[in-house]
């Protein structure tokens, strides 16, 4: 049932186990951190923050698809709903940004629990269709509910004061807050993947009946990874609402669910760093092709087709094969 990921990515889990981080992963994390600290001085900070939010979203999605083997086609629901809740909390309730993000994350987790507990009753393609249908339900809810502002969305969300002290109105200051969230998020995902829990997930992905016969309560593990993934997608969505001071219907629509699938597929399903690369590529493409209207959609479609037909391992998956080390 599980979607196949590159054997090297699987080796990553087995070889590392629960012991420390392999040296080349440590090096990549360090290089990434150094690059991201320097980035706002080289690039436009808001653009980099957008990449970081989507990279975290894609990593959260990859936790479910690449490591849990579950293809959700409705992850926009958690991303978008968290974005609405955090925007509402910051603007109407006047919460500080970190509390607004926590509120959005909690709502995304609860929503993930509700949808996940129903969706895991089906497998494979049906699972994808069920998650997509529920996400569309969340979209219709967002369209009609009073607090989401319908077609207008929630605009002019205040960035506020971090812990009530640090003024986040300057994008440079906000950047380091977002960077901290992003880095904590991917380290958490890395830890989950390499924990005993992650090992069981891998077993379920590879052979569910065998995992059941070994005595694992498979559905609990699936639900747990679904909720974790939804909550982390929520962190990304909630942070995005604070950065752009906007929560809108785009964030809950099915196109957003498709985009996160594309980022993960392009970067490499089941790799640690792939979704980050995929998100960077797609967001950059959207930014530079924005003036070409629907060619962005066409371009995304073409990338989908080419990626599925020609390199299913994704960019990072291919690289990992090349250097013969899990990435």
């Amino acid at each position: 049932m599980a979607i196949d990921t590159s054997p090297i990515a699987i080796a990553a889990i087995t070889s590392v186990g629960t012991a420390g981080m392999p040296r080349h992963h440590l090096a990549i994390f360090a290089a990434l951190l150094i690059f991201l600290i320097a980035a706002p001085f080289l690039l436009y900070p808001v653009f980099v923050m957008k990449v970081l939010c989507f990279a975290l979203f894609a990593c959260a999605f990859n936790l479910l698809l690449g490591f849990g083997g579950l293809l959700s086609f409705g992850h926009a629901a958690y991303f978008g709903m968290a974005s609405y809740v955090s925007a509402h909390a910051a603007k109407v309730w006047g919460l500080t940004p970190e509390l607004a993000i926590v509120a959005g994350t909690l709502v995304a987790a609860v929503l993930g629990l509700a949808i996940g507990s129903l969706a895991i009753r089906r497998h494979g393609i049906y699972f994808a269709m069920v998650t997509l249908a529920f996400a569309q339900m969340v979209y219709f809810f967002s369209l009609q509910a009073a607090f989401t502002g319908g077609e207008d969305g929630i605009q002019a969300v205040p960035r506020g004061y971090l812990f009530g002290l640090i003024d986040l109105r300057s994008s440079e200051v906000l950047y380091f807050f977002v960077l901290a969230i992003f880095f904590a998020g991917i380290l958490l995902i890395y830890r989950i993947i390499h924990s005993p829990f992650g090992q069981v997930l891998k077993a379920i992905r590879e052979n569910e009946p065998r995992a059941i016969s070994l005595g694992y309560r498979v559905n609990r593990y699936k639900l747990a990874v679904f909720v974790l993934s939804a909550a982390l997608a929520g962190v990304a969505g909630a942070t995005k609402a604070i950065v752009f001071q906007l929560a809108s219907l785009t964030d809950v629509y099915w196109t957003m669910s498709g985009e996160v699938v594309l980022m993960t597929l392009l970067g490499g399903m089941g790799t640690v760093f792939g979704p980050i690369v995929g998100a960077a590529v797609i967001v950059t493409m959207q930014n530079y092709l924005a003036t070409f209207g629907d060619w962005v959609t066409i371009g995304q479609g073409i990338i989908f087709v080419v990626a599925v037909l020609l390199f299913r391992e994704g960019v990072v998956g291919v690289l990992a094969k090349w250097i013969r080390k899990p990435l």
């Binding site: 196949d4 089906r122 994808a128 069920v130 339900m137 099915w254 066409i298 989908f304 599925v308």
Partner: protein, 295 residues
Amino acid sequence: MFELLGIPPQVLFGQLLLGLINGSFYAVLSLGLAVIFGLLNIINFTHGAQYMLGAFGAWMLLNYLGVGYWWAVLIVPPIVGLTGIVLERVLIRRLYHLDHLYGLLLTFGLALIIVGFFRQFFGVSGLPYPPPPLLTGGHNLGFMYLPNSRAWVILASLIVCLATWFIIEKTRLGAYLRAATENPTMVGAFGINVPLLVTLTYGFGVALAGFAGVLAAPIYAVNPNMGADLIIVVFAVVVIGGMGSILGSILTGFGLGLIEGLTRVFYPEGSAVVIFVIMALVLLVKPAGLFGRSA
């Protein structure tokens, strides 16, 4: 005139009629998905785009070649089916040895490309398609007014659904198809060209989507986005019905359309989500779907 729970009958029957029309589209589209899924084991995400192609096909025939609606009903579905056959031969075929989810991702990408092109060249505002003279006007049935165009949609989709059921359940070709669904290797060993059967099945399923598109052209505006949201509802219909049975797909499609119509009368705010709520209930009670075989 009598009233039912404070709802005037004209309103009630009017909404039920609209529900039946939506149900016709659900039935034809979910039938196409079920036929394709049965043999190819992929969920055809391009289905919504192919439905849109059907409507645009009718619109182009009328505006570029002056060919009217009734010819379009005959010509467009085979043409849309042919485009499907090309897609199957060139692209989809390459994924049969992989996990079925890749088929979903590929057809999703194809849908983005097709819809993107039509949005780029035709805009999103929607193009009008005038109904043919025979479909204007209507009949007064005493308790309600029945427009001809709506009666035709329901009738035509019923006929197509039942014809599909007949072909699959009662003819020799259908028997091959059902056998190949159960065990393609064995059927191939008996000298039947299974790859050709697969291609034709995909083309047929796509032609059904194109047919639904032609039916939709005079009653909804012809718009590149017309299939995108519809197909997600159809996915929910498929989950509710299960894809195991042809008659099951047809019944579920029409039934859910009616339920949606009733919801629009009694609780309008819920009409957009009622099908998803039913899906949640079905998943709780009978996860395999009403007519599905447990997976």
